[in-house]
Symmetry: C2
Subunit: 192 residues, 2 copies
C-alpha cells in the first residue's frame, strides 16, 4: 500500500488569494473558501507536505482562517474529528507569497524553489510533471502554489522559478476546481 | 498536451448519498453538497465521462440538484459560465445505484461493470489501479462510484463487481474529501 517514504521531502503548499484575477481580469484579493482549507489541507497531509499556507493580505479573511484553525485544532472539532485536526494543523497564514517564502526560509535555512500552477500555458518557465517531481523529491524546500478565482496574476507566474504544465485528461477541457487540481497535482508529483 | 483520445471509453461516475454511514455507523441518506456537483462534474468532464449520477432517493434533494442543473445549463449560469455548463450537463439524477445501472443499461444496451471506491480495504473484491484502468479503457460501460458522509454501506461494497484499492500518498493518512478522491482516482485511471 505505502510504496515510498520520501522522508526527506520538504514540500510546502500555498493557496494564493492575492494577486489573482476576477472574471474580467481585474486584479483582486479573493475571499477565502473554507472548504478549500479543509480539502487542500487533507491533500497536503496525505502527500506529506510540511505546511499549507493560506495566502491573503486581508485581515478579516485571516481572522476567518484562524477561526477555522482554532475550531479544528483546539476547539470542539479537535475531539470530534481527530483526522481533520491532523490536516488543519498544517495550515499557516501568510500575508503574501514573499511572506510564505520567508517563513520557509527561516525554518529551512534556505529559500524554497517556487513552482506556480496555472490552467493555461501562457506565461513563465513551464515544466512538466516529471521534472517537477524530480525537484520535489530532491529534499530541497519547494513551495508549490495555486491561484484562486480566475487564476494567478501574470507577474506571479513570471517571477516563479517554474510554472507547472496544466492538467489534461483525454479531452481539451481544463476547468477543474482548485481543490481538484491541487489533489491531482500532489498525487502526480508525490503519489507514486 | 493531450496524449490520449480514449474515444471508446464508456465511463460513468456516481456519487452515492444512500445507503451510506454516518459517524456512528448508522445507515443514512446524506444531504447533497452542491460543491460536490460542481467539482466532480468538472472532473468527470475533464476525464471524458459520459454522465455523472447524483444518487439519492430523497425528493427534496433531487429538487435541489435539479435546480443547480437548471441554473447552470439553462438559467443565468449557462451564459455567465459556459465551461461550467459543459460540466453540469453531465449531471443526471438516479434514485438508487440500481436505477443508475438501469439508466446505463438502457443507453448502452448492456449493464455496466460496477467499481466501488472506499477509503478502507475491508470488504468486497479489491482491485488495484492498474487492473481498474484496464477495465475502464476497454470500451465497455463502467460505473465508478463514490460514497458520501462516512462511506458506502458494506452491502454496496459486497455487491459491486470490484472495489478499488484506497488512495495512499507516502503517508498512512487516507482521509481525503470525496471531491479530492474522485479527482485523483479519475486522473489515475484515465489521466495518463
Amino acid at each position: 500500500m505505502v510504496t515510498q517514504t520520501k522522508s526527506d521531502m520538504l514540500l510546502y503548499v500555498g493557496l494564493v488569494h492575492y494577486p489573482v484575477y476576477n472574471k474580467n481580469y481585474d486584479v483582486i484579493a479573493s475571499a477565502v473558501t473554507t472548504l478549500d482549507i479543509h480539502d487542500i489541507s487533507r491533500v497536503a497531509r496525505t502527500y506529506n507536505a510540511k505546511s499549507f499556507f493560506i495566502i491573503t493580505p486581508l485581515s478579516d479573511q485571516k481572522k476567518l482562517v484562524q477561526r477555522v484553525i482554532n475550531h479544528w485544532t483546539k476547539g470542539y472539532g479537535a475531539s470530534y474529528n481527530p483526522d481533520r485536526k491532523e490536516a488543519i494543523e498544517l495550515v499557516q497564514l501568510a500575508d503574501s507569497l514573499e511572506d510564505a517564502k520567508e517563513q520557509i526560509r527561516r525554518k529551512e535555512g534556505v529559500s524554497p524553489i517556487c513552482i506556480a500552477t496555472d490552467a493555461s500555458e501562457s506565461t513563465g518557465k513551464i515544466i512538466g510533471f516529471d521534472k517537477a517531481r524530480d525537484i520535489v523529491i530532491k529534499g530541497i524546500p519547494v513551495l508549490i502554489f495555486f491561484g484562486t478565482a480566475w487564476g494567478l496574476h501574470r507577474q506571479v507566474l513570471e517571477e516563479a522559478d517554474y510554472v507547472l504544465e496544466p492538467i489534461y485528461g483525454p479531452t481539451e477541457y481544463n476547468h477543474l476546481s482548485v481543490r481538484a487540481a491541487a489533489a491531482i497535482i500532489l498525487d502526480r508529483l508525490v503519489g507514486r
